[in-house]
Amino acid sequence: QSSDFLFKFLVIGNAGTGKSCLLHQFIEKKFKEDSNHTIGVEFGSKIINVGGKYVKLQIWDTAGQERFRSVTRSYYRGAAGALLVYDITSRETYNALTNWLTDARMLASQNIVIILCGNKKDLDADREVTFLEASRFAQENELMFLETSALTGENVEEAFVQCARKILNKIESGELDPERMGSGIQYGDAALRQLRSPRRAQAQSAQECGC
């Protein structure tokens, strides 16, 4: 399947908040029961339809333990969007959000679009962070916000799609320029086929080699 755009996405947040499970639920549409903890970085990709445009998301899923940050930070560069994940049953993971946010804003593209995800929504009985509190935090920091459940799949696709939609809107309004270096956005193969200016043809051949 061909795409109009390619966005680089990050999934960040403390260890054990369900980052890899969110990614797995998004891509495979099921909950991964037996999953290993992530070392370093893993990635996945999926093409989604956002308002008639096909967008390929290239998603980088990172290890959560504090010390891996020095390694994973080098992947931040050129990310267009990010899911910032905490666990609604763990205040500790919520308290760490400011640090993650600083890293993302400083190291990824300046215009990075971030959606805050309060994961494990299904464990409402053990909740330590209220919806209201988190949505205030999101507002103050100009983040989108959803509570998600990688277990049931609730709001998982929405999180990725909403983030992608906002990026598309920014492109259409001219706020984001896909051709700027490090924007985290590239034209997909469908878009490239339509635009056959010599410069873009070059970009296409570069993309085909898979790096």
């Binding site: 680089k8 260890a15 054990g16 029961e33 037996d34 999953s35 290993n36 903890h37 992530t38 070392i39 370093g40 970085v41 893993e42 990635f43 996945g44 980088w60 290890a63 959560g64 333990q65 504090e66 010390r67 891996f68 020095s70 390694v71 080098s74 992947y75 560069r77 050129g78 400083m106 270096m181 490090g182 590239q186 970009a203 570069a206 080699c209 898979g210 790096c211």
Partner: protein, 282 residues
């Protein structure tokens, strides 16, 4: 290095072990109809273990060859311990004491226990023996090496040891690997050594390979190259049509110690520059 060689042969071993269910069952049934060849191998390995010091000193080359062919399952635990001199470690006597103590890393360790080899029979299930001993070893280690404490990823190494040997032995081998074989450098809080290894590895992959140079900073080799997934998916994908080429490419990687040293210096310079920049930002 010897241990490394054997762990390669182990991979196929593990696969067959998982398929046959319990290893005990498969080996006891196998012992009744051992082929002559297998019997010879067993006798040979029995002798090697008994005369270890002599073999190590006088027949190092042959020993290496035999290890590369694969250590028979029943000898693996002892041979691994012998290889890294982990048989008579004083720390072994502390093990049970360590388990009684409490570690500041317990919560961190606990969080990853069920997420380490979750599909492996031995580690399956909340109260499985595998999960219990894995926790014990990780906790004991975090107490003897407070600087490293617990680091994600290290439990996979301990898990692999525990598939072969009891917890106290696995603990000793792990301590050896971490401390004598410098594995702990990779897991220290700064992760400086890991960063360097990745930097060197990237260089090895780039040299002599044909792929195009990075188009945009952050989207080319240097950013992509650091991912585990990258080595599993992107690189093989480039060689989709011709897997032989991938193997050929892997064999063509040349390790040049001098160049590696140079890269080490280069990397140190990059890192210190980064530090300076960060201080300026602050």
């Amino acid at each position: 290095r010897l241990l490394e060689a054997d762990s390669k042969s182990l991979r196929s071993m593990n696969g067959s072990r998982r398929n046959s269910g319990s290893s005990l069952v498969s080996s006891s049934s196998a012992s009744s109809n051992l082929s002559h060849l297998e019997e010879d191998t067993w006798i040979l390995w029995g002798r090697i273990v008994n005369e270890w010091d002599e073999w190590r000193k006088k027949k190092e080359k042959l020993l290496k060859e035999l290890i590369r062919k694969g250590i028979p399952h029943h000898f693996r635990a002892i041979v691994w311990q012998l290889l890294c001199s982990a048989t008579d470690m004083p720390v072994k006597n502390q093990y049970s004491e360590l388990l009684k103590m409490s570690s500041p890393c317990e919560k961190l360790i606990r969080r990853d226990i069920a997420r380490t080899y979750p599909e492996h029979e031995f580690f399956k299930g909340q109260d499985s023996l595998g999960q219990e001993v894995l926790f014990n070893v990780m906790k004991a280690y975090s107490l003897v090496d407070r600087e490293v404490g617990y680091c994600q990823g290290s439990a996979f190494i301990v898990g692999l040891l525990l598939m072969q040997m009891p917890e106290e032995e696995a603990f000793c081998v792990f301590v050896r690997l971490m401390q004598e074989y410098r594995l702990r450098e990779l897991f220290k809080p700064s992760m400086a050594e890991l960063g360097l290894c990745i930097y060197q590895f990237e260089y090895l992959l780039q040299v002599g390979s044909t792929p195009c140079p990075p188009k945009n900073p952050g989207e080319g080799w240097e950013a992509v190259g650091r991912s585990q997934g990258f080595f599993q998916k992107v690189i093989p994908h480039q060689f989709d049509t011709c897997p032989d080429k991938l193997i050929l490419r892997a064999f063509q990687v040349k390790y040049n110690p001098k160049k590696m040293k140079r890269l080490e210096k280069e990397y140190a310079t990059i890192k210190s520059k980064e530090m300076e920049e960060q201080i300026e930002i602050k």
